[in-house]
Symmetry: C2
Subunit: 234 residues, 2 copies
C-alpha cells in the first residue's frame, strides 16, 4: 500500500506567477501522506510570467480528482479566464475536491466557475474587487475561508494560507513542523506589503505599472462573467 493516501493538485498555465504556485507547493509537498502534482492543459513544460519554465506532471485528460485543488494566479489568468477547457477543468476539480485553495488572482478562475457566488473570497489587492463580478462577497484581507474555499491575497500570501490549509487538514502540529522546516519566521525589510501600509507614492507607482493590463483583465473578467450568466460556464 502506498504511503501517499491523499493528493493535492496545483494548476499551472502560461503566464502564471510562479511564486503563487511554488510557495504553496513547498508547504504541501512537505506534508506526510500527501502526494503533490502539478497539472496543466498538457503535461510537460509551461512558461510562467517572468520566463521560468516549470513542468506539469499531468494534463487535464490524465489528472485524477484531487483531494485538494489549488489555483494560482498571475498575468496569465486573463487568458485562462476565457479558455473554456481551463474553466471547465477548474469547475470539475473544485466541485469534486474536499478543499479548494485559490492564490492571488487564481480566485478569479474559481469565480468564473460560479462556485464563489454568495461566498466570501479574496484575491491580490489590485484585483480583488473583480471577484464581485462573479457574485462573491469581496474581502479586504490576506486570508479568507468560506466552507471548503480558501482564498489568499497576492503571491506570498499563499505561503501563509498553505500553512493554514495544512493545519486544517492534518493538524496544527503538522503545520508547525513544516513552518520550522522552511524556517518561516519572516522579517520583511519594509512595511510595504499592502496598499494600506505602503508609502502613497510607492502605491501610485504600483498602480501605474498595472494600468496597461487593467483593461485586458477587466475585459477577461467581463467575458467570463457573461458566459457564467448565460449558463454556459466552462
Amino acid at each position: 500500500m502506498s504511503q501517499a493516501t491523499k493528493t493535492a493538485g496545483l494548476l499551472l498555465f502560461p503566464g502564471l506567477t510562479q511564486l503563487d504556485l511554488t510557495g504553496p507547493y513547498e508547504v504541501l509537498a512537505n506534508l506526510p501522506g500527501w502526494k503533490v502534482e502539478i497539472v496543466a492543459k498538457q503535461a510537460g513544460p509551461v512558461r510562467t510570467a517572468k520566463g521560468m519554465v516549470i513542468h506539469a506532471d499531468q494534463g487535464f485528460d490524465t489528472a485524477p480528482q484531487y483531494d485538494l485543488f489549488a489555483i494560482p494566479g498571475g498575468p496569465g489568468t486573463d487568458d485562462a479566464l476565457t479558455d473554456e477547457a481551463t474553466v471547465e477543468f477548474v469547475r470539475r476539480q473544485c466541485e469534486g475536491a474536499e478543499n479548494v485553495f485559490g492564490i492571488c488572482t487564481g480566485s478569479l478562475l474559481i469565480g468564473a466557475t460560479g462556485l464563489l457566488r454568495g461566498r466570501r473570497a479574496g484575491s491580490h489587492w489590485a484585483a480583488r474587487h473583480l471577484l464581485a463580478r462573479f457574485g462573491a462577497e469581496v474581502r479586504d484581507e490576506r486570508m479568507t475561508k468560506d466552507g471548503k474555499f480558501y482564498t489568499a491575497g497576492g503571491v506570498t500570501s499563499g505561503i501563509d494560507m498553505a500553512l493554514r490549509v495544512v493545519a486544517d487538514i492534518a493538524g496544527e502540529e503538522a503545520a508547525q513542523q513544516i513552518q520550522l522546516q522552511i524556517e518561516y519566521d519572516p522579517e520583511p525589510p519594509f512595511r510595504s506589503g499592502t496598499p494600506f501600509t505602503a508609502a502613497p507614492h510607492i502605491l501610485a507607482r504600483a498602480r501605474a505599472a498595472g494600468e496597461a493590463r487593467r483593461p485586458i483583465r477587466e475585459a477577461a473578467v467581463e467575458a467570463a462573467a457573461a458566459r457564467l450568466a448565460s449558463g454556459t460556464p466552462g
Copy 2:
C-alpha cells in the same frame, strides 16, 4: 540597446529545495533593468527535491558571468558539494560577481569554494554550524551580510533577503514596490519558524526527521572541506 543591463543567475541542481530558488527568483525577476536566468550543469529540465521539474536557461558552459549570483540549497546540496564541476562553477561565478547570495544550505556550497573564510555567514538552522568547517564565522540569524556575500537562513528567508539585496543594488523604493507587488505582508499562523520559537516537541520531531540525512551531509561537508584544505577547490 537592451533594457536589461544587469544579469542575475540562480543555480539549479538535482534535489534542490525549489522554494530556495523560486522565492528569490520572484523578487529579482520583478526588478526593472535586470534579466534573471536559471543555470545548471546542463541547460534543460532538472528535478528538485520534492519532484517539481524546473528548466535551466543556461548550462555551465554557456552561462555568462552574472552580476548577481545566487546559490539555493536543499538535500541535493550534499551531492553538489562533492561535484568538482559545480564547486568550480560556483567559485568562478562568486569571484566575478558583484554580489553573491546564498540561500539556505546554498551557503555551504559557497563555503566549499573557500570564499567564506573569515567571513560572517548563515544557513538553514539545522546546518549553519557546518559553515565553520569552511572557516566561516557562523551567525545564528535570518540574514547575514559580509562584504558582497549575502547569506540567508532556511528556505523562506530567501524572500526577505532578496528584498534586502534589491534595496542595496537598486534602492529601497524598488524593493518596496516589489514587496507591494508580491503582497509580502506575512501573517504566519504559528510562531514555529525557528528553533528558538518552535515548541520543544516540534523541534525534536524536526531534528529526528533530519537525522537520517545528517551523516550524509556531514560526510559531504568533510570531503569538501578536505579538498579545500588540500588546495584543490573545485
